[in-house]
């Protein structure tokens, strides 16, 4: 929706005190529920990557050498134990990674993750060829709640919502083939320390005031 102020002749008699035109791209028509629109950054560059659920899948694909496949899986497993995101509760973990593949108690993966919950390593990601010099990364199902609601079936673990890396980058990967494109920033950013994301640390004070008879956040 877009409108311009009327009466340009009359307006020119004196400097107007109001906006000359108002356009609404988000609020109008579709209503205030339309949110989450993010503009794609055209400057972002992509890397060609391969995504495999196992060394065997890598071998069968015959894109990288057998040695590369073996090395990549080993590197991913090592990185998994050291850098998988840690969550304080199972619920918190499943909220991000879904229930299809799920999360496990940290102690079953590494002693360093006791009393935490880790997503299962669902796949690993490597470059399409060695010359890209991309680091091998473990991948986790990416299934934040709101996306999971839209995912159909859910039998193919995380395939509808894709994967994410340990540092939170998205790998939009449609099940079937192994080839995917990811932003360079995601392909080259590896986590060296486990990511522990806490949530719910904002909002409590406001809810408490509201339940005591206060009003909204605005004034």
């Amino acid at each position: 929706m877009s409108q311009a102020a009327s009466d340009p002749e009359a307006e020119s008699l004196r400097r107007s005190k109001r906006s000359a035109a108002i356009s609404l791209v988000l609020v109008a028509g579709v209503g205030a529920t339309a949110f989450g629109l993010a503009r794609l950054d055209s400057r972002r560059r992509n890397e060609d990557v391969l995504v495999y659920r196992s060394r065997d899948a890598c071998l069968a694909d015959r894109v990288r050498s057998a040695q590369d496949c073996t090395d990549a899986e080993a590197a991913a497993r090592a990185a998994y134990a050291a850098t998988a995101p840690r969550y304080e509760t199972l619920e918190e973990c499943e909220r991000h990674h879904g229930r299809a593949v799920g999360c496990v108690p940290g102690a079953t993966v590494t002693a360093a993750a006791q009393e935490r919950f880790l997503p299962v390593m669902a796949a690993f990601m490597m470059g399409r060829d060695a010359e890209q010099a991309l680091p091998v990364q473990p991948l986790y199902p990416h299934a934040p709640e709101e996306e999971e609601q839209h995912a159909h079936g859910g039998s193919s673990a995380g395939s509808s919502a894709g994967y994410c890396t340990g540092s939170g980058g998205r790998v939009a990967f449609v099940g079937g083939g192994s080839r995917a494109q990811v932003p360079t920033s995601v392909a080259r950013t590896t986590s060296t320390t486990p990511r522990l994301v806490a949530r719910g640390g904002f909002g409590g004070a406001g809810r408490a005031v509201a339940s005591a008879g206060g009003h909204g956040s605005g004034g």
Partner: protein, 387 residues
């Protein structure tokens, strides 16, 4: 300044729906009220509202510069000590602000200068209806001939908001509020719209979904770091929440910035009066602990340092309670301010909301109440400039 009854557009609710104005009614009663409008002269707008608003905002910035360097001032505002660094850093770094609303008691030429009642500098609402729906009402009236040719409105809000977003250096802004409050959500959706038009990515996330990662970065629902976070959630609650302590060290920038906490606080009123005693647009104001409050005599307004929508405000006139707002606020203390009754037109009390975008005055929104205290039951009434 006059109040002029007029005919409602029969289809204004449908128009509101099409324009995304979904909170035009509250508990079955209209919040948007176009059965009347206020008419100002250009001199009233420019000399009595716009210029004083510019001046008051500048005075407020001068106060922030002083407050951030003075622990005694920050303590007087009941700002917790662990928040002081975040406030100081955001000010010294020059973190930009987006908007605010000065609430003024003003009754037109002849009724004396506008008086500052408070500064909603952190989480003001009534923005969308001021910027857009009021503007559409005017344009409709001009097009239909209900308003005379040349009728104007003090309302550059939309253009100024889009321009301000374009000035803010960021890769994108995540917008947060409670997602179950239609008015808050509507205000935030409008600001997202303005940010999009300024070329920014502008996703929404519920305030409870904000995450904090192990590197001390605030992250969105997909765990991506948030470059800039707009929050329609006041700083005093942010600081009281568990994540409040992480604000100072986080690379995330905020709208409004933490230094706005110094202004969105009724203690500001006492400090401004101490800085500029006798200022024509200020009312005398004192902290409740200050013996000088006695100079106000038996007629004054007592306001909690933190409160919204008139909650816990007490008006005492000639030693008797004239009005009292209910609510849960007041634990942090009170100020006592001189009483400047809102002007009464046709039995309605009008409050002038004077908008600031960036550091410049940008427009006007009026709300009417039956009582002396403007509450969340107030109605938004449009205005024009016609002389």
């Amino acid at each position: 300044m006059r109040r002029l009854p007029t005919r409602e557009r029969p289809d204004w609710r449908e128009q509101a729906g099409r324009a995304g104005f979904h909170f035009h009614s509250f508990d079955g009663a209209p919040y948007w009220d176009e059965s009347a409008y206020y008419a100002f002269t250009l001199a009233e707008i420019e000399e009595d509202i716009e210029a004083p608003s510019r001046d008051l905002h500048a005075l407020c910035l001068a106060f922030v510069a002083r407050a951030v360097e003075d622990g005694a001032i920050l303590a007087s505002l009941a700002i917790p000590e662990q928040a002081w660094d975040a406030i100081r850093t955001s000010w010294r770094r020059g973190d930009p602000s987006l908007y605010g609303r000065l609430d003024l008691s003003y009754g037109g030429r002849g009724a004396g200068p506008a008086k500052l009642l408070e500064y909603n500098a952190d989480t003001p609402t009534a923005l969308y209806e001021s910027a857009v729906f009021q503007w559409l009402w005017l344009e409709d009236g001009l097009a239909a001939g209900r308003l005379p040719v040349g009728t104007d409105q003090y309302n550059g809000l939309h253009e100024r908001l889009v321009a301000r977003f374009a000035e803010i250096e960021t890769r994108g802004i995540a917008f947060a509020c409670f997602s179950d409050g239609p008015e808050d959500r509507g205000t935030v959706a409008y600001l997202q719209d303005c940010a999009l038009q300024a070329g920014l990515a502008a996703p929404f996330l519920p305030v409870e979904a904000i995450g904090l990662d192990a590197d001390g970065r605030f992250v969105d629902e997909a765990d991506r770091p948030i470059d800039t976070l707009f929050k329609l959630y006041p700083w005093e609650w942010m600081f009281a929440d568990p994540f409040g302590r992480a604000v100072g060290a986080a690379p995330t920038r905020f709208l409004e910035p933490p230094w706005k906490a110094v202004l969105s606080n009724k203690g500001l009123l006492a400090h401004l009066w101490a800085m500029a005693p006798g200022h024509p647009n200020l009312l005398p104001a004192f902290f409740e602990e200050d013996p000088a409050k006695a100079s106000l005599g038996a007629t004054f307004v007592k306001k909690p340092l933190y409160a919204r929508e008139g909650a816990n405000v007490l008006i005492v006139r000639d030693g008797t309670v004239a009005a009292r707002g209910e609510g849960p606020y007041g634990a942090e203390g009170f100020v006592r301010q001189g009483f400047a009754p809102l002007p009464c037109f046709d039995g309605r009390h009008a409050l002038v909301g004077s908008w600031i975008v960036g550091d410049a005055p940008a427009g006007l929104g009026l709300r009417e109440s039956g009582g002396l205290i403007t509450t969340d039951r107030a109605r938004f009434v449009p205005h024009v400039i016609d002389g």
